[in-house]
Amino acid sequence: MHLNDGQLRAYLDDDLAPPERARAAEHMAKCQTCRDQRETLSGRAAAAAARMASLDPSPLEARLPSSSAYQHFREHITRKEQQSMLQKLFSHQYRLVWAALGVIAILGIALAFPGVRAIANSFLGLFRVEQFTVVQVNPGDLPEQLGSSSQFEQLIAKNVQLEELGDPAEVSNAEEAGGLAGIPVRLPSALEDQPQLMVQPGARASFEIDLPLVQALLNEIGQEDIQLPSSLDGATVEMELPASVTAGYGDCRFDSEAARESGIDPDDPRPRMPDCITLVQMPSPTISAPPGLDIAEVGEAFLQVMGMSPEEAAQFSQTVDWTTTLVIPIPRYGTNFEEVSVDGVKGTLILQNFDNHAGQYLLIWVKNDILYALTGQGDGSEALTIANSIK
C-alpha cells in the first residue's frame, strides 16, 4: 500500500515518529510512485515556503523585545478597562438605561437581602425613575462581565422572559413618533437638520432569581460573605420598559437590531458614530420586586459590587432616595460630571476628558416623568445649548 499525502508531507518535515519514518523510508526505496509523489509535494512545499517567506518581518519590522511589549501590555490593560466602561456609559440608544436598571434590579435585589433581619418599613413595591445621580467607581474593580454581558441576567436568574412589544420603526416626524410611543415628543430647535427618528418598542422582562447561581457569582467576585435567605430563591422580578423615541442628528446609524444581535463589542476602541448627536426620550421604566426588600441595603450592596468600600457605600447610600433615583456608575478616571440646570430642571452632565481628543458628553434629566438623554461629541456647553432649545 502506498504512502498517503499526509505521511509524505510529515516525512518531508521530519515529523513522523521514528518507527513510522523508518517504514516510510523503506517503502519509498522500492516504490517509484511514492517517490514521485514525494517530489511533487516537496516542490509544492518549497514554492509555498518561498512565497510565504516574503511575509517574514525584515530586521526593521521585527518585533519589540517581549519585555518592552509587556510594558505596552500593562498600558493596554489600563486603557481597555477605562474604554470599555466609558463606552458602555456613552453608548447610544437606551442601552445605558437598560444596563443601569439591569444592574440595580438584578444585582441589587438579589444581593442585598439581609440574612436575619426584621422586615423594615420601606419596601420596594415599585421602582420608578424620578431622578438620576452619578457615582464614581474604579472600573478596575468591576467584574468585567457584570457590565458587558448581554446575557448578564442569565448568570443569576432562570426563566428569563423578555417580551418586546413591537418592532423598532423609523418614522418621519415628531407627531408620528409621539403617537407610536405614547409620549409628547420634543425636539431641539438649536439643531436645524432634519432628525432621523426611531421609535423603539417597549419591552417587558421578568425573571426568577436563582439563588445557587447568585451565590456562585458572589463567590467569583469575592463577596462570598454576603448571605442570602433561602426564601429569595425563585422570587420573581418584573421590569417594564416603555417605548422610547430616539432623534439622531448628523451621521447616525440606527441599526440597533443588528447591533444588539452582534452584541456591539464593548472593547472596540474606535468611537462609534463620532458625528452623531442623539436625543432619547422615554417614560420611566418600572421595576416590581418581591416585597420584603430594604432598598437602602440593596443600594449599598450594589455600590460595593461596583467597587466602593462598605463605608463609602453606606455614606453615599444615605444621600440617595433609592426608590426614585437611578444611580449611574461612572469610572473615576477619564470622566467628569456636574449638576446642571437644564430644561427647567436639575440634570447631570457627564463628560469624557481625554487629553488628546474631544470626548463625548452625556446629559441626562427627568422632566414630567419623561427621561431625556442627550449624547454627542464636544464639550458641555454645546450639550446645554441643544438641551435648552428643546420644545
Partner: protein
C-alpha cells in the same frame, strides 16, 4: 486537569488571573504571536496592536487556561482570527505603490527601490491569496511558516497532530492553485 477552550469560552465569569503564570506565557509566546500577525497584516504597528489585543483577551477571558498552562492553542487561534479579519476587512487594500513606499521607508537600507516594489507586490499577492483560501488552510500556512511545530499547529486548529501533514499538503496545493490563478490574471491583457 485539562480544560477545553470551549468550556472556557463559556466561562464568562472572570476569576483572578495568575499574574506570574500569565507573564511567563506572555514572554514565551510574544515573538511568535507578533510574527503570525505581522505576516497577516504586514504593518508593525497594527501587528503589535493585534498581538496586544490577543494577549488581552487571554488575560480577561481565559484565566483558567492560564492557570492550567494550556493556552498556546487558544492564543494562536485568536491571533489568526484577528489577523485574518484584519486582512479581509478591506481596509488593507492598499495600492502596491503605497506598500512599496512604506516598505522602502521602513527598510531604508534597501539599496534598490525596484526590489522594494517587487517585494511589496509579492507580499500583497501572498496576502490576497491567504485571504481567499479556506480559512483552515490559511491559518495552517501562516502558523507553520511562523515557526510553530506540528503539535502546536494541531492545538491551534483543534485537529489531531497526525492530521497536520495531510492538511498541510492540501493547503499548499490550494495556495499554489490560487497563486497561479492570481498571477495569470495579472499577466492577462486588459
Amino acid at each position: 486537569m485539562t480544560v477545553t477552550a470551549d468550556e472556557l469560552d463559556k466561562n464568562l465569569i472572570r476569576s483572578e488571573v495568575d499574574q506570574a503564570a500569565f507573564e511567563a506565557i506572555f514572554h514565551e509566546h510574544w515573538p511568535k504571536v507578533y510574527g503570525v500577525l505581522f505576516r497577516l497584516v504586514g504593518d508593525s504597528a497594527e501587528a503589535e496592536d493585534l498581538a496586544l489585543e490577543t494577549f488581552w483577551r487571554l488575560y480577561r477571558r481565559a484565566p483558567r487556561l492560564i492557570a492550567a498552562n494550556s493556552s498556546s492553542g487558544w492564543l494562536y487561534r485568536v491571533a489568526t482570527n484577528l489577523g485574518l479579519n484584519a486582512l479581509r476587512s478591506g481596509k488593507r487594500r492598499d495600492f502596491y505603490e503605497e506598500q512599496a513606499g512604506r516598505f522602502a521607508l521602513e527598510n531604508n537600507a534597501a539599496p534598490d527601490p525596484s526590489l522594494a516594489v517587487e517585494r511589496a507586490q509579492e507580499r500583497e499577492r501572498v496576502r490576497t491569496v491567504l485571504g481567499k483560501m479556506k480559512e483552515r488552510h490559511a491559518r495552517l500556512l501562516v502558523l507553520r511558516h511562523s515557526g510553530l511545530s506540528y503539535a502546536e499547529v494541531a492545538a491551534a486548529l483543534k485537529i489531531a497532530p497526525a492530521s497536520v501533514g495531510k492538511l498541510l499538503s492540501r493547503a499548499e496545493r490550494e495556495f499554489e492553485e490560487r497563486y497561479g490563478k492570481l498571477e495569470g490574471k495579472e499577466d492577462a491583457p486588459e
